[in-house]
Symmetry: C2
Subunit: 346 residues, 2 copies
């Protein structure tokens, strides 16, 4: 039985992340993690005639890079699991057309990174696939255009807003191979405490992160200290302190130096004009696949829990006065024995 507790999958034979691909745009290329990504574009256009095509190109490039890293031809992929913020997840559907792999479209807004990884891991772990790619992407200009205003308008934002990451992150999950392993995943419930402001999604998503972290610890019987790091997806400068405070009040003892947020890590939030920090499907994807897995490889981290958060609103739902339902999906990634000995492939 893979199911442990109410909603956590503990994979009996942990699938391996044999390769990843990360591609980002210029703002991320000026952030503190710039050197960790496989490809940094100097501009937002990426040689494409529309922002939507730029976003798709990011994902296609990240897919190609992961396949190159894995030394795998794309016809070996059993499935591609992915989604994004665009209406009808067109970036992933069009990239899946290019890739040619059987396609499982998913949607969890910015939690899509870990939702797709959890499902890919379930497929591999259960013997339903040998090589499965999980991927997601976002682009600052497509997200602003669709959810708020085209960036060309130059409209202002409050400091609680977040800055959508331009990038794409993919991983290839396999039954065998070298790399960190996925030991568990916890699927989120919808949490909605009544926040309606799309410029304050960190606050809206914080309860979902807290609920999933507590659910994961309860289902697995683990203490927070089991993990070297617990990293939320993109709560950023407003949401992450709220999550910390909620966990404290709920009696969950977290070492604050081991509780980080991808939205705060990807930018120099003080000096880059990113309001409260990063967000977007690519945020937790590129920070996890680019930065955190490298730290596992270097032996700096052995066990991490990535808790990707998603705000499941649509422009229509908030125009109609609805509150913002949120979700968070968590995936536990651990160093494999080979990496613990420091002899894994890069």
């Amino acid at each position: 039985m893979i199911l442990q507790g109410k909603r956590t999958w503990v994979y009996p034979k942990p699938p391996v992340i044999i390769a990843t691909g990360t591609v980002v745009g210029p703002d991320e290329g000026q952030g503190p993690l710039a050197s960790e990504f496989d490809l940094v574009h100097p501009d937002l256009e990426i040689g494409q005639p529309s922002w939507e095509k730029s976003e798709r190109a990011l994902l296609e490039q990240a897919s190609d890079i992961a396949l190159q890293h894995a030394k795998l031809s794309k016809d070996k992929l059993n499935f591609f699991v992915g989604g994004d913020l665009m209406n009808q997840i067109i970036s992933n559907s069009f990239a899946a057309r290019t890739l040619g792999a059987p396609y499982i479209g998913v949607f969890g807004a910015c939690s899509t990174s870990m939702e797709s990884l959890a499902i890919a891991s379930l497929i591999v772990s259960s013997g339903a696939g040998e090589y499965v790619m999980a991927g997601t992407c976002s682009h600052n200009c497509t997200a602003e255009k669709q959810f708020r205003y085209p960036t060309e308008y130059g409209s202002q934002k409050p400091p609680t807003a977040q800055y959508t990451v331009t990038g794409a992150g993919t991983s290839i999950v396999a039954r065998e191979g070298q790399g960190p392993v996925i030991t568990a995943a916890t699927i989120g419930k919808i949490m909605d405490l009544g926040i309606k402001d799309p410029f304050n999604m960190g606050a809206a998503m914080a309860p979902a992160a807290v609920d999933t972290i507590q659910g994961h610890l309860q289902d697995t019987g683990r203490e927070p200290g089991y993990y070297d790091l617990i990293v939320t997806g993109d709560l950023a400068g407003v949401g992450h302190p709220i999550a910390s405070e909620m966990l404290r009040r709920n009696g969950v003892q977290m070492d604050q130096t081991k509780f980080l947020d991808c939205g705060l890590m990807i930018y120099d939030v003080e000096n880059q004009k990113v309001q409260a920090g990063g967000s977007g499907c690519a945020c937790s994807a590129v920070v996890t696949y680019g930065h955190l897995l490298k730290r596992i490889h270097k032996g700096e981290l052995r066990r991490i829990l990535v808790v990707a958060t998603g705000a499941l609103l649509s422009p229509l739902s908030y125009q109609q006065g609805e509150t913002i339902p949120c979700v968070a999906h968590a995936v536990a990634i651990e160093a494999s024995n080979s990496e613990k000995q420091g002899d894994a492939a890069p």
Copy 2:
């Protein structure tokens, strides 16, 4: 190993569909399958102040009905797997908030019905969940408003267009219990033969249905005659004959009396004003869960393959001149031994 061939899951211990819920609107209530649905609404409003809330209500009702049929309280559900046509699949996300179950959002346009059922079955079959609900919904007025024009405008359509089904279908998949079983699923690849016309989605989707049917037969080594019926999702009057012809040219011997289409079954296409026939996420969901499973229960059918088709366009993608990528996911449903003996619960 669940994986058979390239992209087909053959479930070692076939999960059981222990209950379903189907809710439809007035047009479907005037169609030939009206008596097969659990709840028929006499109007499109369903007591709600917006079309989006009406669509969500359909799904919430179909979820409640399935739980009642299964005599299961909602806290027993391990996961809810669902998606819909709305931007950011808001109908499912909001319904998942009401349901309270851990939520896996998926998107395959009108193929979502079988995508969600395939994933729910994988979860149950692999021991990653005991009770998993799969669900989807669509509403004629939300889909027209979002993809084309609000119905209030009264804009005309060509006869190749399809009519979005107003309805919702849910199923509860379990490890044990009485009901038909899910023996296999084949995940679709993106097929895109260059059609750009959103008023002719049947033609666009036909190659995806053909590819998945052939992939399924190849992976499983089965002949079309293994199934009492092979039913496409919603190719309707234009797409279904194209699929038949493509299969014939590819040398797949199909008995045309056993090759049907949900979009042609749900309406009296000749006499109801539905252009080429039905479409929408709910189309294959309510026809499968309402009508086809009842025929299995009655002993009229023993093995069916439901091939739900999806056109993965967005309004933006076709406005930008893109072609329509399409996908089809197939699920094989068979009578259980108890049903073969005619003693299953209704």
